[in-house]
Amino acid sequence: MLTSMDSTSVPPLTVIVGDEELLVDRAVAEVVAAVRATDPEVDVHDLMPSQVSAGKLVEVTSPSLFGDRRVVVLRSAQDLTKEPAGVITDYVKDPVDDVVLVLVHAGGAKGKALLQAALQAGAHRIDCAKPTKASERIAFIKGEFDRAGRKITADAAQALLDAVGTDLREIAAACTQLIADTEGRVDAEAVARYHRGKAEASGFTVADRAVEGRLAEALEQLRWSLAVGMAPVLITSALASAVRGLAVVVQSSRGLSESELAKQAKVPPWKLRTLRQQARGWTPRGVAQAMRVVAETDALVKGAGRDPAYALERAVIEIVAARGRR
């Protein structure tokens, strides 16, 4: 892993060998960041074999008229067909000053000649193989905590692994969350707390508490849901469902049967009772107001606003306030 790559020392040729996507992405990002540190305007070409012809490769690896620097990242280099692979093999023998070339290779037998040629030409090698043993994954978890300047106990790391599974991205996400939510050394109890929260939090709980007017609980659930990585749009859509249910029972279309009502509210028939309980204390005007809040929040969450978490908090507060509206 590159940790302290100084910008002046970015190797002109790097090969990243391995099939662990998270590690590969991080290694690529670090090379790019190191080049950007000296040259914020640098052009980055991140290419897949399906997108490149030999011609395109020649183009991106040729000297620029204006001496512009470029980073060329070539993913899945083992999948290159013969002709473009030839372009790269020739290039590594006689590289261009302005170009930083990063080859990502899965590490298998396929496309090995290309990898060998790059290494022979003095490429900087970074290994990113998938960890296969539990001990390697534990080491990864410890590494994640080290990077943040934090510590995790051995039994906590094991508990985390047991709970999250073997996907490195998910392990990394859980580590990030634990680091953000806790202080000091992380022990097994902290990991257990984290997982209880994750299991309980859902957009629907947030929405139910909000339409019932239970502000404090709704906000607490909302923060949990966001903390464990629930997508804000899922929370808006849960709010929309809850408010839709209210609308249907607070003031129903005339002459609808129970099953038609349930269909309109998009709930199973037995849930109408819950909806009717939730609808106590709501007026049509209040519900219409809540519908407006949901629409506005969806816009904010989809990118019109800078802070989805804040938009959702405000939505919960405004929905609870709309409940009191006469």
Binding site: S50, T81, A247, V250, V287, A288, A295, A299, K302
Partner: protein
């Protein structure tokens, strides 16, 4: 016959464009070409035909007879296949800088046919900021024979620096009479139907043609216009929003499904699906990437088609409330939803002009939200509730 015949109710614009075509001919024959310029901006309300006007102008520039509408060159331009006309119609909701740079390079090469290189850029307002800057550079330093034709709803939709370098062609909303006349004489539609369609389309030529010729479109409009009278409870609001959502999705699916399948089949054929032997596995891997790209593009197109469908519904609703307002204010104007007379009068009697304006605002707000990527059903629920409560 002339390529300008397709423009309806735009006499002043046609005169100016014809004069420019004469100047362009003068330029080609070694004159100074006064009156011709290399960058044009076509603006006008939806349906006024800005893209058609730009296309007709492109055809006239390429034609050796000033846009006869009959020669091979005219046919090619109108059909979108002329080698010296670059057609840009962003299929997504925005047009990026990479695509623009590529376009600028292609625009700069010399015309193969010896006349002009014309770039016809519809919906130029979809160019991102970076893309607009790339475009500006090309327009500031034009290649000698390149002509840029940009189309946007209003001049304000473009960077002021681009706008100031373009000659403005502003199309106006054609009159109902002009539209009726076009439908009857050019499309051979019978007069009664043409009158009804032209009124309903309120100055939108293509929409009028669609209403006159497409039964589904007429049925959709009728259904949409029954909504105001049916909003008698919040439940009905939820129902109406769900129904609009359902029909827009279904219509969009119908108009894209066949096209999507065909494109996929073509792509697979190009990658030799079904073949066997050496090299097939490799080809299949390459195909997977290309297929993913195609699917992305199709998804963007579907989004755009859906938004157009919602737009049509919402504009029909706006037309209804605009008519309500006209009745409330006693204005003697032609009502575009006169076929819903009883509903119009009932809504007009039971509400105030202020409430009508608030309702129109709610519809425009819904449109803005759908364009900002809000889930259409959510946006329309907020709208129907606002229409119901006034």
């Amino acid at each position: 016959m002339s390529v300008f015949d397709t423009l309806v109710g735009q006499d002043t614009v046609v005169q100016r464009l014809r004069a420019a075509v004469r100047a362009a001919d003068n330029l080609l024959s070694g004159g100074d070409g006064t009156g011709m310029t290399h960058a044009w901006l076509f603006t006008g309300p939806p349906g006024a035909g800005r893209a058609q006007a730009a296309r007709a102008f492109a055809a006239a520039l390429q034609c050796t007879h000033g846009g006869c509408g009959e020669c091979a060159s005219c046919h090619q331009v109108l059909a979108g296949t002329h080698p010296d006309v670059l057609y840009v119609r962003p299929s997504g909701l925005s047009f990026g800088v990479e695509q623009t740079r590529e376009l600028v390079v292609r625009a700069a090469s010399s015309p193969t046919g010896g006349r002009f290189r014309v770039v016809l850029f519809e919906d130029a307002d979809r160019a991102t900021e970076a893309a607009s800057n790339a475009l500006l550079k090309a327009i500031e330093e034009p290649a000698p024979r390149t002509v840029w034709l940009l189309c946007t709803p209003t001049a304000h939709d473009l960077l002021v620096t681009i706008r100031s370098r373009c000659r403005l062609v502003n199309l106006r909303t054609p009159s109902t009479e002009a539209i009726i006349d076009a439908l009857v004489t050019r499309d051979g539609i019978d007069r009664d139907r043409a009158v009804a369609a032209a009124r309903a389309a309120a100055g939108h030529l293509e929409r009028a043609r669609q209403l006159a010729t497409d039964e589904t479109a007429r049925a959709r409009r009728e259904e949409v216009l029954t909504i105001p009278a049916r909003l008698d409870s919040l439940g009905a609001c939820v129902h109406a929003a769900a129904r609009l959502y359902e029909i827009a999705e279904a219509d969009a699916k119908e108009s894209t499904a066949a096209l999507d399948e065909q494109e996929k089949a073509d792509l697979k054929a190009a990658f030799g699906e079904g073949a066997t032997g050496k090299g097939v596995a490799k080809a299949v891997r390459g195909a997977a990437g290309a297929l993913k790209e195609l699917e992305e593009r199709q998804k963007r197109r579907a989004t755009r088609i859906k938004r157009d469908a919602y737009d049509t519904f919402l504009m029909d609703l706006v037309a209804f409330y605009r008519d309500v307002l006209a009745i409330q204010l006693g204005a003697s104007v032609e009502l575009s939803t006169a076929d819903r007379d009883a509903d119009l009068r009932r809504v007009a009697r039971s509400s105030t002009p202020e409430a009508t304006l608030r309702r129109i605002d709610a519809i425009m707000e819904c449109r803005r939200r759908i364009n900002a990527n809000v889930h259409p059903q959510i946006a329309m629920e907020a709208m129907t509730a606002a229409l119901y409560l006034g």
